[in-house]
């Protein structure tokens, strides 16, 4: 456990050294610029659009961090040959993989905490300049705590994407890993179409294959509750819990595969 924690902290430090936190500056500039400009452009929909923009920006920035750091977590160690100095040490390979994953998780969580604070600050600033009668017309208040549900599910989705990127990085090159992870991310958001293949295909075999893929591939669409939250629609706690549990099992499965592949790699 101690070894894993040390590796995790090291990954976090490395990401700070790699200027990953610079994206927070970009996020802050984007949000402040948006809050100023959108009021002029959107016919009173600035808060709705700032919410959409903020949640989407968190998702995109988080996705880039998850993929571009995730794919390098193991493969970089192999490329730099630093893995050879790590392996003789008294740590298991599973500890290395899980430590790396925890480190990137920590990086994402720190990013999200700061982005969430900035996001709420911009919303508070925008709401302060809006008359109460206009605020009453909003689907949800500017500082709606329900936004945290959407942010939480985005973060959980990205933890799943990170696990996928890490898995690919245990046996593939960084470029191929990035391409594969992006591919899984896109397919994961369209997996509902696989479920409804029977509406467009007459072949029972093809429908069965599509239905099988629907259950096997990660269903990332379920983590997207941005629109519901922004429009003040309820997102039940039960839904959140089941979605988080799905992610936990899927992440555990991917990390198990990653540990398995990495444990069997021959570095001699």
């Amino acid at each position: 456990m101690k070894a894993m924690a040390a590796i995790a902290v090291n990954v976090f430090r490395e990401s700070v050294r790699d200027k990953v936190l610079y994206n927070l500056v970009l996020f802050a500039i984007l949000m402040m610029g948006a809050s100023y400009l959108l009021g002029q452009l959107t016919a009173g929909q600035d808060v709705k659009i700032i919410k959409d923009l903020g949640l989407s920006a968190m998702s995109v920035f988080g996705l880039f961090i998850a993929i571009f750091i995730g794919i390098g977590l193991v493969s970089k160690e192999v490329e730099r040959r630093s893995v050879y100095s790590l392996l003789p040490k008294p740590i298991h390979r599973y500890q290395l993989v899980l430590g790396k994953y925890s480190g990137l998780t920590l990086t994402l969580v720190v990013n999200f905490v700061i982005m969430t604070i900035a996001f709420y600050a911009v919303l508070m600033y925008t709401a302060r300049g809006t008359p109460p009668n206009v605020q009453r017309a909003w689907d949800a208040p500017a500082l709606d705590p329900a936004l945290l549900k959407a942010i939480g599910l985005i973060l959980i989705e990205l933890l799943l994407v990170t696990a996928i990127a890490l898995f690919f990085s245990t046996f593939s090159t960084p470029i191929l890993s990035a391409a594969l992870t992006f591919g899984v991310f896109i397919v994961g958001h369209f997996s509902t179409d696989l479920r409804n293949f029977d509406q467009v295909l007459n072949s029972p075999a093809a429908v069965r294959i599509a239905r099988g893929l629907y259950w096997v591939l990660p269903n990332l669409g379920q983590f997207d509750v941005k629109s519901q939250v922004v429009h003040g629609q309820p997102v039940p706690i039960g839904y959140m819990a089941l979605t988080a549990a799905y992610a936990a099992f899927y992440i555990a499965m991917i990390l198990t595969m990653a540990v398995f592949v990495f444990s069997r790699r021959d570095f001699k």
């Binding site: 452009l41 959107t42 016919a43 009173g44 929909q45 709705k48 659009i49 959409d52 923009l53 949640l55 989407s56 998702s59 995109v60 008359p131 009668n133 206009v134 009453r136 017309a137 689907d139 896109i186 958001h189 369209f190 990332l220 669409g221 997207d224 941005k226 629109s227 922004v230 429009h231 629609q233």
Partner: protein, 317 residues
């Protein structure tokens, strides 16, 4: 340390100077060879469903972009029309179809609401943009109703969409029976305010007189929680005031015409007759115009121009 600082400042200064030079060259080139005006009227992808797939996890953000585009499109078309040299007015519907100024408006709003089916304002404002008489809008009440019906399919709890459909029929189509039917339907949605059903009855019995139209705008003004809608209601209420003033002025001018044996063709003659101390102005402050046949009307330069076509009273059954 000092040398490093000087070097850094030098590099920044050099980069700044080069940027300024590039800007100057670009400005010179644009003066010499003005860039062509881009008429950005094209909507390359017209299928909301296709865009929904393309935008993946970011549908709502894509909807926002299309909403901003719809507003810009509507605003730009309105501004262009306002700048046009004043020509005799063709019938509004014909002018709207022929001008093609608002031809992409419904497509943009349809895409917006397909990408984000819960985008309340896109339905409510969008239907006003579509239904408004030309040149203030597209004069397409049919598309406004279509958009609002789509909204109600997406959110069956929104009685406001049905009320808006009733309003479109009342105000823009002058079909009071349809309007009353839609107000009635709106009143039947759970959670709808109690005044909708009496409104349906009143529309059926009194639809079309100025007083009931004014009352409807007053109600919109009082209940509007959106600044733009409130301003629009204020504008319409001022137009009703102008209509009242025109009626009062006209009756005095008609009386003058009787005494002098013919209409006064300009304000000079009216002022000389001492009917008014000065040229009367409309509620926006613009002087009224007097036509050669002695009719009073708002000036085309007035903020209130054009006045709404007066709804006609409902014919007896």
């Amino acid at each position: 340390m000092k040398r490093t600082l000087v070097g850094a400042f030098g590099a920044i200064a050099l980069a700044g100077a080069l940027l300024v030079a590039a800007i100057q060259v670009q400005a010179a080139r644009e003066r010499e060879y003005p860039p062509p005006q881009v008429d950005e009227d094209a909507v390359y992808i017209t299928s909301g469903s296709a865009l929904r797939r393309l935008s993946g996890a970011y549908n709502a953000l894509a909807a926002d972009l299309y909403w901003i585009r719809a507003i810009q499109y509507y605003g730009a078309a309105k501004a262009r029309l306002a700048e046009r040299p004043l020509a005799p007015d063709p019938p509004p519907m014909l002018a709207a179809v022929e001008s093609k100024e608002f031809s992409q408006l419904y497509t943009l709003l349809d895409i917006t609401t397909t990408l984000d089916p819960m985008f309340d304002i896109a339905y409510r404002f969008g239907s006003v943009f579509l239904a408004e008489a030309y040149p203030a809008g597209a004069a397409r009440a049919d598309l406004a109703v279509k958009l609002l019906e789509k909204g109600f399919r997406a959110r069956p709890d929104k009685w406001q969409y049905l009320e808006d459909i009733g309003f479109v029929y009342y105000w823009y189509v002058h079909d009071y029976r349809q309007a009353a039917e839609w107000f009635q339907k709106a009143g039947e949605v759970p959670g709808a305010p109690v005044w909708l059903k009496p409104l349906a009855a009143a529309t059926l019995s009194q639809g079309g007189d100025r007083q009931s139209s004014r009352a409807m705008w007053e109600r919109i003004r009082q209940s509007a929680d959106i600044g733009w809608l409130k301003r629009s209601a204020d504008h319409h209420i001022l137009q009703f005031l102008a209509l009242d003033q025109i009626d009062a002025l006209q009756s005095r001018l008609d009386a003058l015409a009787k005494t002098r044996g013919g209409p006064a063709g300009d304000w000079g003659a009216v002022l000389r007759a001492g009917v008014f101390p000065r040229i009367p102005t409309d509620p926006s402050g613009a002087p009224y115009e007097l036509t050669s046949d002695g009719r009073v009307r708002v000036s085309r330069s007035s903020e209130l121009f054009p006045l709404p076509v007066e709804p006609q009273r409902l014919p007896p059954r």
